[in-house]
Symmetry: C2
Subunit: 259 residues, 2 copies
């Protein structure tokens, strides 16, 4: 009997079936019939965990699988010819990444683990064959991609129009919403990415991110606990107000359903 929501994740390296996995309702909310889950279970590969800094795939690599993150977190970024990197999303446990690779069979982004991360590997060929029989699965994929587009466009608004304070506030409430929806605390969580990554993602210099965090602490909007990575949102309403967000689109910032 699982002690907590994600206890079955611990056994990821071993033969835990999708049915037993506490993530099944999150990573593939398909309302599949029981035999369908069994079929999906049969095609999923469970590998050893990725260590912090390890690359899951590189921009331009041949597309082979979609991954469901079971525990841990990753960042995804694109690289310009001059070598500049732009982080386009962070992904946490319970999210699916890599779907976007099916356009011309290459991954368009590089994905790197931010901490020790375990995943379920769903080979594309099998998924594709399965999708032929399961309309729900196809719809799920389409919906995920459609949502990703809307979220990326919210990011365009953020990068184009918002001030540094608004950007950071938007990020914080969006991450908060995502954790909340996954059954975790909306007000206390760990930022697994560095200040550098955060600045890169939000279009700000590291120093600016640091300064805004300090300002938010002075305003008693947030507080850091043990380390500068463990944050508590004291005044979520205040952060929302700062962020200028559309209702229900908070999670747009930073959430990349499709990788």
């Amino acid at each position: 009997m699982p002690q907590n929501k994600f206890s079955s994740v611990k056994g990821c390296g071993t033969a835990v079936s999708c049915q037993d996995c506490s993530l099944s309702s999150l990573c593939l909310p398909l309302s599949l019939h029981e035999q369908d889950i069994d079929r999906l279970d049969a095609i999923i590969k469970r590998g050893r965990p990725y260590q912090k800094g390890q690359t899951l795939w590189r921009q331009g690599d041949d597309f082979h699988s979609v991954l469901a993150i079971r525990s841990g977190s990753v960042k995804s970024f694109i690289t310009s010819p001059s070598g500049e990197e732009q982080i386009v999303g962070f992904h946490f446990a319970g999210e699916m990444i890599g779907l976007n690779g099916l356009f011309n069979k290459k991954y368009p982004i590089t994905t790197v683990a931010l901490e020790t991360t375990t995943v379920c590997d769903i080979p594309y060929d099998s998924l594709d064959a399965l999708a032929d029989d399961l309309p729900e699965l196809r719809d799920q994929v389409l919906q995920s991609m459609s949502q990703e587009i809307s979220e990326d466009q919210q990011m365009m608004l953020l990068l184009s129009k918002k001030t540094s304070e608004q950007r950071l506030a938007t990020f914080l409430v969006s991450v908060s919403e995502r954790f909340h929806r996954r059954g975790y605390s909306a007000s206390r969580f760990r930022l697994t990415m560095s200040r550098n990554d955060l600045g890169n993602f939000l279009g700000l210099a590291v120093e600016t991110v640091s300064r805004i965090f300090s300002k938010f602490q002075q305003k008693e909007l947030i507080r850091f606990l043990d380390s500068s990575r463990d944050i508590e949102l004291i005044d979520i309403a205040g952060l929302y107000e700062l962020a200028d967000l559309q209702d229900g689109t908070a999670s747009a910032c930073g959430k990349r359903v499709v990788g």
Copy 2:
């Protein structure tokens, strides 16, 4: 016999079939069999043209159709609660818009005509039913959305990391590429959007756009013909160099396959 590539577009208001339409190979490059084209043709509605400034649909409207632009051009934007608008894409003749509305059955963006614009209206219900039978159509939709994601992420890089000069250069070569692929001149075209729209899209003030255009003219990279909307790219190579673009991703900027 058509006189030019788009001559059949003129008869859009009348009963021109998809098969005769010179855009068929552009807006739905599906390699459909002949009888499939006939089926598609049967469900398409051809309405009267939209005038400059008219709204095709508004953010939040119920999703009903996908549109193929037969002539003219449009802009699409999202609106933040505080009323700020962010243009997320321009669309020209031969491009499909509105696909993104299938996520929760609402259009997530507002789309407005930049000039007199004619479209083919493909009701979603019919398209959905047709897609059940035609794997190519489904793949096409997936590919379009996947491409859109990559393009939006290129825009995130542009808005987050590029200078004003790089942004405008990126935009110009991307529009050039798009026109070129459609069989038009890569070096001479009309900018149907205002400087205001351009600035909004690129995350710049109108004045900045104007100044960069002037600077580009001084450097003899571009030239304006009759008006400030009719541009000629004199030194495309030079613009490419300025833009810091990935090979083959130039069209990412401004191109929104999915609306």
